[in-house]
């Protein structure tokens, strides 16, 4: 479903601030894979996500989504294949537009936007049903402005928008990091159930090792722009936080350097 071959990216090349963010990333995801990605600060977790989404062009390497090379496609064209949820709840939704308008925009991802009316009554009914699944009471507030919602509600809505048209790949970039623990747990449960129900292929960046172990069928650890550890199946299920930390210092020759990861 996703193939990364020797993907490299350097920010600010040739300057004193040059940062080799990705130093040859190789990854192959099978359909239905749900991968969690962990790593210290600046390991390249989010950078991998942005490389796939096309936020900026990569320096070298190959990115294939569902067999198609997408390196030369701009971000808005790659959106056809991708559902994305960001760390900042403000980033994934338009605050000044209604809930149903946001959903209608998402329902047209990857489709040609015509001069037909922007939202149909059949759609409104469908949106109400889909919102009811979130169990946040949003189904009765279709015409409310999204800016009125809480961070957790907005993140749940973004998740729904990202999966309304089934994406080839769902990219979750620390999408629960800005939420309080209780809300974060709820959004994670929702993420699990949507991925399972729609049988999506997904990547989730997290700084929470427990979450990384508890969710998905595969776990990747990154360090200095490379994948240093890749585990799946039974072996992943048997992982513990201690084992992961040991694995990290063994693979990288360093202590795991992320305050957030250690504390959570």
């Amino acid at each position: 479903m996703l193939e990364l071959i020797d993907v490299k990216k350097t920010f600010n090349p040739g300057t004193i601030n040059a940062k080799k963010a990705l130093q040859g990333v190789n990854l192959h995801l099978n359909p239905g894979d749900f991968v969690t990605i962990i790593g210290g600060n600046g390991a390249g977790k989010s950078t991998v996500m942005n490389a796939i989404a096309g936020v900026w062009p990569i320096d070298s390497g190959i990115i294939r989504i569902d067999g198609k090379e997408v390196m030369s496609l701009p971000e808005y064209k790659r959106a056809k294949y991708l559902g994305r949820v960001f760390q900042d709840p403000m980033m994934g939704t338009a605050a000044t537009m209604e809930i149903q308008e946001n959903l209608a925009i998402a329902a047209r991802r990857g489709k040609h936007r015509t001069l037909r009316w922007g939202i149909s009554s059949a759609e409104k009914k469908k949106f109400r049903e889909q919102l009811a699944i979130l169990n946040l009471g949003l189904e009765d507030r279709l015409t409310a402005k999204v800016g009125l919602l809480s961070g957790g509600q907005r993140q749940a809505l973004t998740l729904l928008m990202a999966t309304l048209n089934e994406p080839k790949l769902l990219l979750l970039d620390e999408h629960t990091a800005a939420l309080d623990p209780k809300t974060a747990k709820k959004v994670l449960e929702l993420t699990d159930s949507i991925i399972q129900e729609k049988k999506l292929t997904a990547m989730m960046v997290t700084h929470n090792m427990k979450d990384a172990i508890a969710h998905g069928n595969r776990l990747i650890m990154m360090h200095e722009g490379k994948i240093i550890f890749d585990v799946s199946g039974e072996e992943k299920k048997a992982l513990t936080v201690e084992a992961l930390l040991a694995k990290f210092s063994q693979s990288s020759g360093q202590e795991f350097a992320s305050d957030r990861a250690l504390l959570s």
């Binding site: 989404a53 701009p74 971000e75 808005y76 064209k77 959106a79 056809k80 991708l82 994305r84 960001f86 403000m90 980033m91 994934g92 939704t93 338009a94 605050a95 000044t96 537009m97 209604e98 308008e101 209608a104 925009i105 998402a106 047209r108 991802r109 990857g110 489709k111 936007r113 015509t114 001069l115 037909r116 009316w117 922007g118 939202i119 015409t143 402005k145 928008m161």
Partner: protein
């Protein structure tokens, strides 16, 4: 004396609607796309110039209006290309196009002004036939609002609104934000140029300076309308646009009133600009000084100071006792 004032009101209304149409163009960039587009100072004159040239060459009125609108659209396209493909900041892109249009407008008119006297040409609107002009302008405004209401309700129109509301979300949802920005700018400047064509007929001439400070008038209409009647609109887009036109009318009525009251007309631009600054600053100042959080903070600070004073007084007394 007062009779003179009331006699001047219909003219103010006519001008208000004309500039209100222009303000609808400003609304599209400023409110929907979240871009302050300074192209309008030039494109309003482009509309007037093209209209005047065609009318004086004996072309039909409809052609003059359509050509003026298309000319404005091209100006918007240029700004859009500067901004998106060439990566120039939106404000600077608008200023560059404005400068380009200064030369273009002079070339179109063949000079600094071109008169289209109502006495010689069959004009759509004229200062001397205000009643008819107002009715025609109202029809123009209402048809325009109806068309825009439809357009911004469509799938493509919604993607323009989304672009202004959240650029990041729009790209992630597959919207070509360069295209939506360009189309928004094209549409906006087309409308502005159309209003320029109307203004030039009303004034009986197109002049190179007719667009100077147009952006201020347009913003004033948008802001006055929203401040006074925004609460009426809820989420209705058509009402919001109607309110913009009403804002334009109020601007010109106030303009006429202050002139009637004897304000130096040289000071008008400054007054208008300062008024806009106050309106624009209001939400920010309100948040900073008058929100509940700010008030609570102030209160806490005051109490702290009071407590500190008491403490120091007490300490002073105690030390006094000790000495005794």
């Amino acid at each position: 004396m007062l009779g003179d004032y009331f006699n001047s009101l219909p003219a103010a209304v006519a001008q208000g609607i004309m500039w209100g149409i222009m303000a609808i163009g400003v609304y599209i960039t400023y409110k929907i796309l979240d871009i302050a587009d300074l192209t309008v100072d030039g494109s309003i004159c482009t509309g007037g110039a093209v209209c005047a040239v065609l009318i004086t060459n004996g072309q039909p009125m409809w052609l003059a209006l359509v050509a003026a609108t298309v000319a404005g659209m091209l100006a918007g396209l240029l700004t859009g290309v500067f901004h998106t493909f060439m990566g120039i900041p939106a404000i600077l892109s608008g200023i560059l196009t404005q400068l380009i249009l200064w030369s273009v407008n002079l070339k179109i008119m063949g000079g600094a002004n071109l008169s289209v006297p109502a006495a010689r040409y069959n004009l759509l609107i004229a200062r001397l036939d205000l009643n008819r002009s107002i009715i025609i302008l109202e029809i123009f405004a209402l048809v325009l609002i109806a068309v825009l209401y439809w357009f911004f309700g469509t799938e493509f129109g919604a993607s323009i609104r989304a672009t202004g509301a959240n650029l990041n979300m729009s790209s992630a949802q597959g919207i070509n934000t360069s295209l939506t920005k360009i189309i928004g700018l094209v549409l906006s400047n087309g409308i502005v140029a159309l209003s320029g064509a109307l203004v030039c007929q009303y004034n009986g001439s197109a002049t190179i300076t007719m667009g100077q400070g147009a952006i201020v008038t347009g913003l004033a209409a948008v802001i006055i309308g929203e401040a006074l009647f925004g609460w009426l609109c809820r989420n209705n887009f058509a009402l919001k646009l109607i309110v913009v036109v009403i804002g334009g009318i109020i601007y010109w009525v106030v303009y006429n009133t202050v002139i009637f009251m004897g304000l130096d007309s040289n000071l008008l631009r400054m007054t208008a600009a300062l008024l806009i600054a106050v309106f624009l600053a209001a939400p920010h100042l309100k948040n900073k000084y008058f929100s509940n959080a700010a008030i609570a903070e102030k209160k806490a600070l005051k109490e702290q100071q009071k407590a500190a004073k008491k403490e120091s007084k007490k300490a002073g007394k105690n030390s006094g006792k000790e000495v005794a």
